[in-house]
Subunit: 336 residues, 2 copies
DNA sequence: TTGTAAGCGTTATCAG
DNA sequence: CTGATAACGCTTACAA
């Protein structure tokens, strides 16, 4: 475990460390002969530059922090794949954190990242996140932070979302068109923007129809599966049950499927269901599940492209305060 | 974007940087009064230590590198959650990389990690990985590396796996018991250990029976979905098709479901199917899919515990060369 | 109990 | 074209 560093190479070669450094960085002011000597020894001894010395010197880490609220979720996995696809082309690394939908965790993670560990942050906020002081902190420290999907609306930065309002509207409208009279909306949290927007679309569609909407059509769900199962069964069993469900996130739709199975109701005959989801196997469910799927990889790529363009520019321009919308796609399947 | 560092604090407080440093680190040789002053100013100015300066000095990064072959996969997501659960208790960070089942990518990632960027690596090798020079490199550099699930058998280190042989045997045995006469085995790659072990279990079970086993019962699949669909249909259509399938990984089982759907064969009447998988919603598939599910979170936790115990010890002991088995669980559902 | 100084590995600046 | 030197922010002997 000999530590081969620039100094060591320099000694071996009878050169100054600075010369070695320049040769390694292919500086124009070094002769080809010297470069060759240095490179070949470096290769032979398997020299690897110390990233932390570099970071310390350069004040940048070539590392991006990614914070998601849930890891076991295709959507977020796809987004990260998209981010990585771009960032790795620029030699950037990804520090990935799971906030588990918990603001406290989120705050802690943010505080870790404040010391310059990352050059930028891309995140989707937890469903509990209402106050955004901790996120403002990040900006104050001069660390670029951008959001996707679950965004912090008030922070002046770029946010990537899908057309949540329109998708919510369209999905609800579709349910109405195929004959649903009582359509429930499954909401994970009223804090998060996507929930709000999807809900708004749903509400507008329902209210524009001649259905007799009532506030209790909007179901405020828990994070955990157990209470949700009970909650869902409580409104599925009675005679005045809904005949349509629009779920704002995949997790709740899965739970709904389970609850419906237990009630012996049939999909889509007795109850129709649509959900926002990036599940690969919606086709294979019983019955195939209608989904609104988000362009997850693309969202990730766009986030990364934006950051890379900002970070690799010598004269850094600030990140614009804007919302960029990448449309989702509705996949009609048997469940609706 | 004022950079508040120790020097800056020291100036403000009229103290030496070393005093501030010691106070921040709660050194016993600093008076309570001084500590209070330092801490309060640090808090006020929101001081965050520079992790890279620390890393450079301490020769450790408090960072673990995680390499997986696929991110959109519940198993790996769960493992990472398990790892993070433990490492964050110790203040460690996770650099996560996706090799996309590609050895070249894997090599590249490893080379990034060689410079001391991480204190240890936990990984699952790509299905293409046969030679392991690049992994030996890591050990030579003195960086602890451990494996889970897809292991590099020959490297002297700790590997966490599940009882792949036994599970393969049991699943095949189960298929035989419920009447299958011709059981195909879906193999992703003959390079990876889990494939080999699961296959070995399957082979032993089949050969111990009175089925007329033939080599072509073992299907060597491609990485991509398209060719696999065609491959599967090519053996599902003929009269002498199999009546049982054991899939060594989730991805192939999904593809098999799709192919079977297209052939109009019925599961489980015409063909029975079992797969290794950590899918949450096997229950909701049509029909519910029998799975062998691995204790993913626990595997992650165990990997992390081992590393943490090694890394946080002052007198570091080497990582033992051993294979630790954590058993999988068979969930019988309708598909078998 | 506090201060001084050196060094972790790199690279930019300034000389030569 | 190459060498010496300083500095990034932090910690730790060693001094006081």
């Amino acid at each position: 475990m000999t530590k081969v560093n620039i100094k060591y190479l320099a000694e071996k070669l009878n050169m100054a460390p600075s010369t070695v450094s320049r040769a390694l960085n292919d500086s124009y002011e070094i002769s080809q002969k010297t470069k060759d000597k240095v490179l070949s020894l470096a290769k032979e001894l398997n020299y690897q530059p110390n990233p932390y010395a570099r970071s310390l010197r350069a004040h940048k880490s070539k590392t991006i922090g990614v914070i998601i609220p849930e890891r076991i979720n295709n959507f977020f996995a796809q987004v990260i794949d998209g981010i990585e696809e771009i960032t790795q082309q620029y030699g950037y690394h990804l520090l990935v954190y799971n906030s588990h939908e918990d603001v406290e965790q989120e705050r802690k993670i943010i505080s870790y990242l404040l010391g310059g560990r990352v050059d930028a942050i891309v995140m989707s906020v937890s469903s509990q996140t209402s106050s955004t002081e901790h996120l403002e902190q990040v900006q104050k420290q001069g660390i670029p932070i951008i959001f996707f999907d679950r965004i912090a609306q008030d922070l002046p930065t770029t946010k990537f979302i899908t057309n949540d309002y329109q998708s919510g509207f369209d999905a609800a409208h579709h349910l109405i068109e195929i004959g649903c009279k009582k359509i429930y909306f499954l909401l994970l949290s009223k804090e998060i923007t996507i929930g709000k927007e999807r809900l708004r679309g749903y509400l507008d569609a329902v209210k524009a129809s001649d259905l007799s909407f009532s506030e209790d059509w909007v179901i405020h769900c828990a994070q955990e599966e157990k209470p949700n199962i009970d909650l869902f069964k409580s409104f599925l069993f009675p005679m005045d049950r809904p005949d349509g469900i629009l779920s704002s996130v995949e997790k709740l739709a899965i739970t709904a499927y389970q609850a419906i199975k237990e009630t012996k109701l049939r999909i889509p005959e007795d109850i129709k269901l649509i959900t926002f989801s990036n599940m690969k196997i919606a086709d294979l469910l019983d019955p195939p599940l209608s989904t609104i799927s988000q362009p997850a990889q693309e969202i990730g790529r766009e986030c990364a492209k934006l950051l890379m363009s900002k970070l690799t520019k010598t004269k850094p321009s600030p990140i614009e305060d804007q919302v960029i919308t990448i449309p989702s796609i509705f996949h009609k399947r048997t469940s609706s």
